[in-house]
Symmetry: C2
């Protein structure tokens, strides 16, 4: 595979969009921008600055139509993923990059954008724990792991899982030693004070509060996902709460 050859310069592209979750992007950027012999290009649909869901201003280098063939395409998530699921220019761009040989690195609900692009049929995938039940609507098999690979697609679970996904992809593209050097440079020896990062480990009251505070967003996501999945025909019998947590 050409992209994985250490002889080739890697063209890496990171898609940013309004109302995204910035660390879905900045986490993998931290890793992938350190790959030897590579160029990282930040791009958005129109090439204009935008704000993430908490207001951080992010600025692209290019617009979508200025981006040529990539070896790696980073697709973050966050609430703004919904709007992109209806943007045919974005969806056909992702399809073309993947069929042209690019690796896809999906983070969080970036997986739903891949779903809308029709790339999840028969694929093992993961996403944020709050959206796992939406993956089968696009034909995917949800896997409750932090990083899931299927062919040239690497799926990360929610938000900060993008760092783990990017390190894994770095090891595939440039070898374990390079990935380990990047990890050491980033001093990535995480040691969270609490063990509250998944629905299985969080205290019940914390899980309840998190589910409640994201209820409206999740319902909206479900509506959009169902509509698009039905249009794609990947959604035979959506079972709403099958894997929801």
């Amino acid at each position: 595979m050409a992209a994985a050859s250490p002889q080739n310069h890697l063209q890496i592209g990171g898609l940013i969009f309004s109302e995204m979750d910035q660390i879905d992007f900045t986490g993998p950027f931290e890793v992938l921008s350190r790959l030897p012999d590579s160029t990282f290009t930040v791009f958005s649909v129109d090439g204009q600055p935008l704000r993430d869901q908490r207001g951080l201003v992010l600025t692209p280098e290019k617009a979508l139509d200025q981006v040529r063939r990539l070896d790696v395409l980073l697709i973050p998530g966050g609430p703004g993923q919904e709007a992109l699921m209806d943007e045919e220019a974005v969806l056909s761009f992702i399809r073309a990059q993947y069929s042209g040989g690019a690796w896809l690195l999906s983070v969080c609900t970036g997986a739903l954008i891949c779903g809308a692009a029709g790339l999840l049929k028969g694929v093992r995938a993961t996403t944020h724990w709050r959206s796992m039940h939406l993956l089968p609507w696009f034909g995917a098999t949800p896997v409750k792991e932090r990083v899931v690979r299927d062919e040239r697609m690497v799926f990360s679970a929610g938000v900060t899982a993008g760092i783990d996904g990017a390190l894994y992809l770095a090891s595939l593209l440039r070898g374990e030693s390079v990935a380990q050097q990047i990890q050491l440079g980033m001093e990535y020896a995480p040691n969270p004070l609490f063990n509250s990062g998944t629905p299985d480990t969080a205290p019940p009251d914390v899980l309840h509060a998190a589910r409640r505070s994201t209820g409206a967003l999740t319902e909206k996501r479900e509506g959009t996902a169902r509509r698009i999945a039905e249009k794609l025909g990947t959604c035979e019998k959506p079972v709403k709460e099958r894997l929801s947590q």
Copy 2:
């Protein structure tokens, strides 16, 4: 302490600067911008957009002289920390915020900026593993932990440690349940593929390569740190390799 009261709106400020390491900032931003009843203001010395050390464009909301009293001041690191150690406007701003009651959250070599501000005398602190030996020059006791608190200063180790430091500070400011909800929302259950995040756990050849590739930067940092520490008079007997790794 007023800042820790749940009744008070928290004013949080994040300093950004050219040649910083973006995730030193975007990691804690992800956590702290989610604190209930708070405002997060991104600022730089001159209020203009800038690039991090890998080229990511970051845009502040304000210039330094437009920032009023803060409850929390985030000070990231990265190579650009050196220039800030000579910027008296930045150093006196940090001193004034701290003496005015703000919490400081230092990430990576942000600790050296605090040192140049004269705030590390007799303080337990940490920083990136590559710069630990510089802390005593500013009168600090280096502590090999991922997050170190001394009074209203919270020090994070290198780069990604800012996420852990920010979650700890979130728990101090708004309680454990809020911090745990933020952690769950971020799905922060890190699971790196390799155990290469510290000099103690990285394979010897990886450590060797990382030390070599950062040799010039470390030497430059040492020169700047020594010059400033000698000016401050905090540097009685620098022992260059005392804690270096």
